[in-house]
Symmetry: D2
């Protein structure tokens, strides 16, 4: 396998803040509908070419786009323009660490102007990977979250516990491993990591348990695209469930887009 | 105005965890699409009757549903069943504090069985408000988030800062004021609060600034439904922007569903 | 029951034709996505207040909106504006016949300017019903369409047969009874009719059988809203299936929005 | 260029009729929402691989899928299963005429059982094209539809005129040229044709004008996929508008997926 090389795309809704209150504040449920549908569409558009998108702040989303070239990015911009009352700008960059890649992706977009500059629309900047690199995806979940939390505590307390565990994981993975971690619903977190090994994941799980009292397990996959690596990670996580283990690393060969 | 009495509905996807890996793990982008579309639909369904839904954990969502009776809740269940491959159970409760209401709404659902019991589907339990109570909604955002963060830091660092501010706010509002707070995208957080006054909000903002280094402002609205209270809150937040103030409390009379 | 009085709303996408080719032709699948999602949303928005929308030409849709006032119509316009790259104009009118109502609804919109006038956007004109009138909905389907057609002929030939039956029904119901008929998928057609009786429906079915060789049955419902009348019609159609009859007329009392 | 060889996929919702009335009739607006969203999703899924889908009867849809292999078809089935309460079966076939292809695609699905057999779900049968063939797409619209119809007649009368023109075109293209024609909204019809020449299109337009009194123009494109051929057709139709001509045939080279 080739080296780990993550391609990141920053997706930014153009001049969104001013739009939400123009000419007067728009109804919040309509904004929530717009944001979540746009995220759903971007998930599909990016997934079709093998990528993963994370909702992040909703008006600024981070995607792992290994394998998607500039014309693929342009198709995404056109699809948004043709269906929504807003447009998106895209910054693309690669790096041996995800942190480096998101830094560069952001910088290239910031260089084009402010996110609230009404003249800065539908920017597409950056340089997709020329050669194949592998991406590593880690899929975490909480051990027996339903039995320990959902069926026991009030729903907001459960959310707080999950959120604390996520925050602890996010900070540690970023500071110690230059990784980006995203809550994806339920008790699930996906981390985009450089080529971390089993020991690094075991250590991370221990850290979160100490810091936030949450017990995690993780499945890890590597492949040429986030989609294939992510599916390998999910299959590895199933092996954790079946075997009672805390870290499983997938070969990636079993991952096919199905 | 009548006393603050918040009606909360816990929306739980039935037996969702097992479904996501049955018979083998489903593709993550399809799950993200399902979850975010379901949230978008619930936003609309609940908003039409005056409520607000928060995405929370996506498989467990918390809604403020003052003014929606049991038949309204049944319509929501039917709409989900008719459009999605999953169904939802609903627990409804009221309380003078949102914390009390979510506790009771959760308990009534937990009493019907586990969230992962395949026989426990489409439960509807609880007692909506018989008489009108007012709901108070507080809409926070970060001062000059674009200038200070979005245009300056890398997108993941911005997200971390916003997330830290949100966590600090969430914890303080819950512990000190029995309030529920939800990140709704961008740099925005909505809190569902009992009848807090201006001093309580000013103190909260100071606390978050000290704890997380994030400067907030807040617009507050009260009305018979979350929709009207939320719109009053957004208009109050606009007044903060125009006047340079940190707390504005709306009269609610200006709030009409438009 | 009160007299039959149909309220019709013409929903017209503003200046849509020019938009679809501006600055160059947009991809057809994106336009299809936009149109069908907009129709889905309008279905829900209008249904929530008791109405029915028909996709008609997609850029011009006809809705039965008994019970929806001008502020309800304004909410629909705002919802579209907040989620789509296009806006809609609405013309509302009532009449003892649906034909009369659609004529007046169209005229009131045409008086405001051309559908392709870029300055004529988000018009809302007309006068909703002040008093309650009942609406009558007839739901037709083809006898044993699956056995006779879908499982026997090629899919396009099936479509041709269904389309011919629909065209024959549409023309006859319009010319003989001032009714509006809409294909709604599968082998189903809904007609919005003035207060036709059993004999008129029996005669209509005979006419379509002679003209197009298609055997229909019909369930009919009357109620204060299209939603309730339509549900009564569907239940009546089920009685046709169970009893082997060709015309069943519902009392309407059984219709509740569920 | 290679010979015209159309690949057609019949998309059939499994056992849909019984589902719509089980256990009691489902609300019609929810069914309309389901059908139109499913069509929107299929448009995107198929378009991403270069195909076009037509809504046809909504529970039976016809797609032109040149370039999409069996694994692409399986991905479409999985996407539907993961997002909707229904599943789809697919029959795939090719032919030098579209009529032949749809006949074979239907037959292969019918051979697997009835559309209303509850045990016949998620069938995938047929053989995609091994070698590249070109597909020809013709995009028709009505001359000055807004000026002559939309701004002049009542909205239902406009719809009747457009529908009559469409029916005349559909029948003629099928009987004379083994072509499949689909109304796609507004005043637009797309025909999937074998390699017809300019004279055949001019003659078709004359026929429709005589039979239904509707004046059409048409842009025609040929390429390896429906998406590229369709975009070439749209660009050719723009040339009709600019030059005042009635038939323009695109080279196809200008068509790129943008």
């Amino acid at each position: 396998m080739t080296v780990t090389e993550t391609q990141v795309t920053l997706i930014q809704i153009d001049n969104y803040g001013p739009w939400t209150v123009s000419p007067t504040p728009r109804r919040e449920p309509d904004l929530q509908t717009l944001q979540s549908r746009l995220y759903a569409d971007l998930s599909q558009l990016v997934a079709h070419d093998g990528g993963y998108v994370f909702s992040t702040r909703f008006d600024n989303m981070i995607a792992v786009t290994n394998g998607i070239d500039l014309s693929g990015h342009r198709r995404i911009q056109a699809a948004v323009r043709n269906r929504y009352p807003v447009t998106v700008s895209l910054g693309v960059a690669t790096g041996s660490s995800p942190r480096e890649a998101v830094g560069e992706a952001t910088a290239t977009l910031q260089a084009a102007g402010s996110a609230q500059d009404s003249d800065r629309t539908e920017i597409l900047r950056g340089e997709p990977l020329c050669e194949d690199g592998t991406v590593q995806i880690a899929h975490f979940d909480v051990n027996d979250a339903t039995g320990q939390y959902t069926d026991e505590l009030n729903a907001f307390d459960v959310f707080r516990h999950i959120d604390r565990g996520y925050s602890a994981l996010l900070e540690y993975m970023y500071d110690a491993h230059d990784s980006l971690s995203f809550f994806i619903g339920g008790d699930n977190v996906i981390s985009v990591t450089p080529g971390l090994d089993r020991a690094a994941f075991a250590e991370t799980i221990e850290h979160v348990e100490e810091a936030a009292g949450i017990e995690l397990k993780v499945g890890v996959g590597r492949d040429l695209t986030a989609g294939d690596a992510g599916m390998a990670a999910k299959e590895a996580l199933e092996r954790c469930r079946n075997r009672g283990t805390r870290v499983e690393i997938g070969t990636g060969e079993s991952a096919g887009r199905a």
